[in-house]
């Protein structure tokens, strides 16, 4: 059989890791010049598959054909030589070099053999960016340009190295809706120029918008090959999780009660000593979810850390349950009924070297009955963990397993279970579903709504607009440390919020 018409053919790929079969006889056919989406839950094996295509991993079994030719990829160098480029989710750029320098880095043109020829590099990058309509300022430093432009630099890098096949690894995760649209325009232009693209994503609406064909993966296997024009989101979701999923969650009406948490003119600095939160005032009532929307890096992290006692408050006031709680440390706040689902579960939420049962009491370890006169009550801890594992369906049901050995979704369930088990009055929830699959997202959303019905005050910080829209009673949009405006989800649109996320105040947007 000939694979002449295909840009990429991966046949019968098997990749084993010590504890899992990451790819189980996966077949992938990507036609020349198409945008091919790969969707699947976390741990479905998408990244493993792409890492094999990019030469980072070697398949245990199976064959790879590029433009009909069988290849043996020993490393990314081979992949690049075969015209494969990868746009990583986390950009591989040097912050204090210019765009042009970054693009040519590693394959610089030289003058008289050894001198770096910056002018030649600038010229080439300019030509390339004009050819594909990738607008960049070749002389700007990476640290000074917005995320969307940094991503275009990444794309330019692959093109500069002669890529014909581009792999996009969850490229929209860090973008505003407007930037996402711009990226899609770029992808369409690249398609016109004859490039082939593989697009990995969780977001079904984006997959529907941009792709030509879709490969759905589940537990290391391909469960569906679909033509985008002949399918819909529900069908894809079903293939992804093996059952029907309610994508839009029902939010029952619920009347908020008294104000539980309040900040007044809060100022917080980031790690570099610059103002990250600039005078934020907000209120959260019992039985209400307040969502904070915004592009990552606009002060949300610092705001959360200040509220939960992890970061110093420079100016302003925090009131909790009618009491001044400015500058309280995390222990005191937890004793007062604050729970916190952190945005980075590996950094803050878990101790990967601790077994699950110890992780289940983190932040509560001094509470009775876990601790009794300074001694840990292991029996109670085991039983609580077992109970919560059942209740929150944490898998595998092994309470002795180290925190770091659970999959991302199950780690998150563990953290959520722990924080809810603390019976909080006020809960700070940051990025609760980052990197999770559809099934787990649904579960966590339902859990948060249940908390709302039990009159817990919830502050939700998320980069996912859909999440903000479907859960929040009120939405605040944050940009460069300031609140751009407050809207109600039923009275606004994604476009309106998107414009605020890009730095426009509500008044400006509505006028």
């Amino acid at each position: 059989m000939s694979y002449e018409d295909y840009a990429v053919v991966m046949k019968g790929i098997v990749k084993r890791f010590p504890s899992v079969l990451a790819n189980d006889h996966v077949d992938l056919f990507v036609k020349k010049g198409e945008i091919h989406a790969i969707v699947g839950e976390n741990g479905a094996g998408k990244s493993t598959l792409m890492n094999q295509l990019y030469g980072l991993l070697k398949p245990d079994e199976g064959e790879i054909y590029i433009f009909g030719k069988k290849v043996d990829l020993k490393g990314p160098k081979d992949a690049i030589a075969n015209g494969i480029g990868m746009v990583h989710q986390h950009f591989m750029l040097v912050d204090n070099l210019t765009v042009a320098e970054n693009v040519v880095l590693g394959s610089e043109t030289t003058k008289s053999g050894f001198l770096f020829d910056l002018n030649e590099a600038r010229k080439k990058v300019k030509e390339l960016s004009e050819k594909y309509g990738l607008l960049v300022d070749v002389d700007a430093k990476i640290e000074d340009i917005p995320v969307g432009m940094q991503q275009r630099v990444e794309i330019l890098k692959t093109l500069y190295r002669g890529a014909e096949i581009l792999i996009f690894d969850e490229p929209t995760a860090v973008l505003t809706p407007q930037e996402t649209e711009e990226l899609f325009d770029v992808m369409r232009r690249l398609k016109e120029a004859g490039k082939t693209m593989i697009f990995i994503s969780h977001k079904l609406n984006e997959v529907m918008e941009i792709s030509d064909n879709i490969t759905v993966m589940r537990l290391g296997k391909v469960t569906a090959n679909l033509k985008t024009s002949e399918t819909n989101e529900v069908e894809i979701a079903r293939a992804m999780v093996g059952r029907e999923v309610v994508l839009r969650i029902e939010k029952p009406p619920h009347k908020p009660k008294e104000v539980v948490f309040e900040t007044e003119d809060l100022w917080v600095k980031d790690n570099r000593g610059l103002d990250a939160v600039k005078g934020v005032s907000l209120k959260v009532r019992a039985g209400e979810i307040v969502g904070i929307a915004g592009v990552a890096g606009n002060g949300q992290t610092e705001l959360v850390e200040a509220i939960t006692g992890l970061r110093k408050i420079e100016k302003g006031k925090i009131t909790l349950l009618g009491q001044d709680a400015t500058g309280y440390d995390p222990r005191r706040l937890r004793d007062m009924g604050v729970a916190h689902i952190p945005e980075d579960r590996l950094k803050h939420g878990l101790i990967v070297q601790y077994p699950a049962y110890y992780n289940m009491i983190l932040g509560q370890q001094w509470w009775y009955p876990y601790s009794n006169r300074g001694f840990l009550n292991h029996q109670v801890i085991y039983e609580t963990t077992k109970k919560l594992f059942e209740e929150y369906d944490v898998r595998p049901r092994d309470i002795n397993m180290f925190g770091g050995n659970f999959s991302g979704g199950n780690q998150q369930k563990l953290v959520v279970a722990r924080e809810i088990n603390a019976k909080p009055k006020f809960m700070v929830v940051a990025q609760p579903t980052r990197g999770l699959d559809v099934g787990a997202i649904e579960f966590i959303h339902k859990t948060l709504l249940k908390m709302r019905e039990q009159d817990v005050a919830i502050l939700l910080i998320s980069m996912e607009l859909e999440e903000i829209f479907s859960l929040s009673d009120r939405i605040l949009v944050m940009y460069e440390g300031e609140i751009m405006g407050e809207v109600r989800p039923e009275e606004t649109t994604v476009e309106e919020v998107g414009l605020m996320m890009a730095g426009k105040k509500l008044e400006e947007v509505r006028s």
Partner: protein
Amino acid sequence: MRVSALPRFWAFIVPIVSVVVALLIASVIIIMIGKSPIEAYTILLKGAFGSSSAIANTIVKTTPLILTGLAVGFGFRAGVFNIGAEGQMVMGALMATLVAINLGSVPPFIAITITLLVGMLAGAGWAAIAGYLKAKTGAHEVVTTIMLNWIATYLSSYMVQVPLAVGSGTPKSPEIAPSTKLPELLTVGAINMNAGIIVSIIAAILLYIILEKTTMGYEVKAAGFNPYAAEYGGISLSKNITMSMAISGALAGLAGAIELTGVHYRFLGTLSGGKGFDGISIALIGQNNPIGIIFAALLMGALRTGSNEMQFAGIPKHIVMIIQGIVIFLVAADRIVRTSMIIMDKKERIAQETKRFVKRAVILSIIIIVSMFLSKEGLWSFLGKFGYYVGKVFWVIELVSLLSLMIVVALYIISAVISLGMVYSRRKKVKS
């Protein structure tokens, strides 16, 4: 960050394998200097445990090593690198001396308790300086404890040369009051085995309980593993650092006080003699586990005592340093041991690995036999002086392959044992 999915007993496997491999490597060196490794190790063992005086001597050497090992190991668990056990030990001994020479009229039990407590407090205070500096200003404890070591060293040598000096010769303090001397458990000839060993073992057990059973231990370890998550979990990092350093220093100070009240009976400038630094290697070998540290300290103590005997038998005692060095290297670079272990949990794996093992063993044996023959003296004499070197080259090849064969066999056996253990523990888990 991925944590190894290997079972818990793995922590003990690495040091044991390291010791075995170190002994094998050292035996090749012993062969190369023309001695028999079996004889050397027999003498070493006899020197360390062969008689009651040897045992007493080993235990006396082990006692302070347990405590400094615990000091450093506890620091590691809490995420602080206490290089200053040396200085803390000196300060503990020095302050204990100042008190102990004046406690003549106090009954022994109280006098000893006071002396040891003063030693612990002095060590704790000395270490807490570094802890406080780290918590308040972020000054790294490695730098500050090294600086404090020097201060302690010079302060103590001033003390024994000026204010406390007695007699001539080695600078020393006056002898401590008889009531403050630790009771002797055993006296063999010139060697007094004091009750310090009991104190050290109690300290190890207490530390184990603190680390594994208490909320404080939970918090200390949490801060050591992941300071961010610890802070998130309501654990004050600055408090934790200062406290961990103080506990660590208290243990080192206790080591100093026991050396004073159980061995030397007076403060000497050279009292610690590097035992504080030995604590680092002991903590490493003992995998920072209090019980493991007891055994690691015993290993070091035994090697030191036994090495003297070896020296008498004409085998350089520095062999012991080589063994020590290799053990520490292998434990520190435990990935080497980890990757050379093969988990044979399936029938195909067993067959595959056994085949590979047999192949390697056969090839190595052939090389050994051939090179043994080729290295025979006089075989190359027709080449003149050059022939001598050719013979030597084959001799080296023979030794290296012998060593490799021994390592291959040892690794295979150990791998098989581990695999059996894993399969067994897995079955048990499935049943429960």
